[in-house]
């Protein structure tokens, strides 16, 4: 059975090599400062106590007042997993976070997807182009203020 890192323990372990970087934690997740995400990921990947060599997933959620980056990490040698999060884009100004593609190659296409559909751009990404939609598409569809056809007919509150 893959061991899940508890958020509090992981926050403590991250603080040990990057002081002041974590902002919050709970039973399963850790929140870190978005501008230092690459530094944290490098540590999580290379340090012997973590060895998170496989990046399972990168995604983002629109919480209207801010965006949240979500990283699912897996360690093959230690058979462990952890969830790393970062709140960014407060006030809906164009959010930018450092790319983790230099740390794990596997983030490349997933970060392109996040940029395309959620509109979070990644600093240091080698090829940040739209992936599912075409260049020049207006807006980023997974944002909550992008209404689908059905949503444009009926208010969202009545759909729920």
């Amino acid at each position: 059975m893959t061991r899940s890192w508890s958020g509090e323990k992981l926050a403590e372990a991250i603080e040990a090599f990057a002081p002041g970087v974590t902002t919050d934690s709970n039973a399963s997740d850790v929140w870190v400062q978005p501008d230092r995400i690459k530094e944290v990921c490098e540590g999580l990947r290379s340090r012997p106590e973590f060895k998170f060599d496989l990046l399972s997933g990168v995604t983002a959620v629109d919480y209207v007042d801010h965006f949240e980056m979500v990283y699912h990490l897996t360690s093959l040698p230690k058979n462990a997993k952890a969830v790393l999060k970062a709140k960014c884009g407060w006030g809906r100004e164009d959010p930018v976070v450092p790319s983790v593609t230099p740390v794990w190659r596997g983030a490349e296409l997933q970060e392109r997807e996040v940029w395309d559909l959620m509109g979070i751009s990644f600093e240091g990404h080698p090829n940040l182009k739209r992936i599912a939609l075409w260049e020049g598409f207006p807006g980023h569809p997974l944002r909550k203020d992008f209404a689908t056809y059905a949503q444009s007919l009926v208010p969202v509150e009545e759909l729920r």
Binding site: V61, W104, R105
Partner: protein, 370 residues
Amino acid sequence: MTLKTEPVSVNLGPQHPSTHGVFRFRVTFDGEEIKDVEPIFGYLHRGSEKLAEERTYAQVVTLTDRMDYVSSMLSNQAYMLAVEKLGGIEPAPRGVWLRMIAAELQRIASHMVAIGFLLQDLGAWGTPLTYAMREREAVLSMFEMLCGARITNSYLRPGGVFMDAPEEFWPTLDSFLDALPHRIDELESYLTGNEIIFARTKGVAVLHPQVAIDASITGPMLRASGVDWDLRHRDPYDYYDRVQFDRPLHNAGDNFARYWVRMQEMRECIKIIRQCVEQIEPGPVRPSHDDVPFLVRPPAGDAYAAIEGSKGELGFYLVSDGGISPYRCHVRAPSLINLTLLREMLIGTLMGDLFVSFGSIDLNMGEVDR
């Protein structure tokens, strides 16, 4: 005498019979050698993740069917595990066994498609594909018995499956499992020792294990590079901790290894299904409507559940705000992520091997673009 050559850019796809859907490459060739590849995605993008936000938790199942349409039972299973984790739903044991049987049958069907089309891409026009499709056809007929649908099954519900297997399903399954090892042997006797296949696939598009892990590659592709990583074994979901099976590994990491691993995995699927049939007991196939109402309202929060899909780690990340539909539904699509190293795999290989290497990744455009 050496001929002077210069690079030529060729556009392949999106409408090309070997692109397994609608996929486009922009390839630079020098003579027959591939110098550069630029994959272009998005021709099948339907916005499934956005559409999921305006459907109820039970309705989203129909969208997951249409993501990876050659292994929809596995997509259903990954999604339901995420819903159950999010809502704290305790599944009914008979439902879990039934969906494990369905998932393993689907894995056989999906690997058969991968192998059949790989041979098609190699130029073995039609014949091996017909052998592979025969087995898939038998699986699809069994799905028709289970749920009335063949491709877009929508068989699973939160906490189990939507109806019990009919009585005629069990003898059909039994005779299929009896026949399948011989059918696989037959297929292997034509292919695994075939010199033409050796010449065309061995040592082509080699993927080293460390590079593959770094690029988040999972599933049969990672096991073909010699990494023993299978979520059914490492992080058992459903009742996979109650069944015994082996994990075929190959160290070469080339096209042949990827073909071979899929071939052997189908034999393990048979073992797993047999053990499921032995352990399944009568009972309800899903919790009553008092326990799990039709409109599931999971508490606010998030959950990520992943399964070993036919192509790799297939995960769903769901966020709930306490309403009847997901606030956010993200799919960790193995087909897309396994394409990360496509460029590195193809550079230096020959034009004729392009679609063979591409086919050996085993991807599904419905899942790549969603």
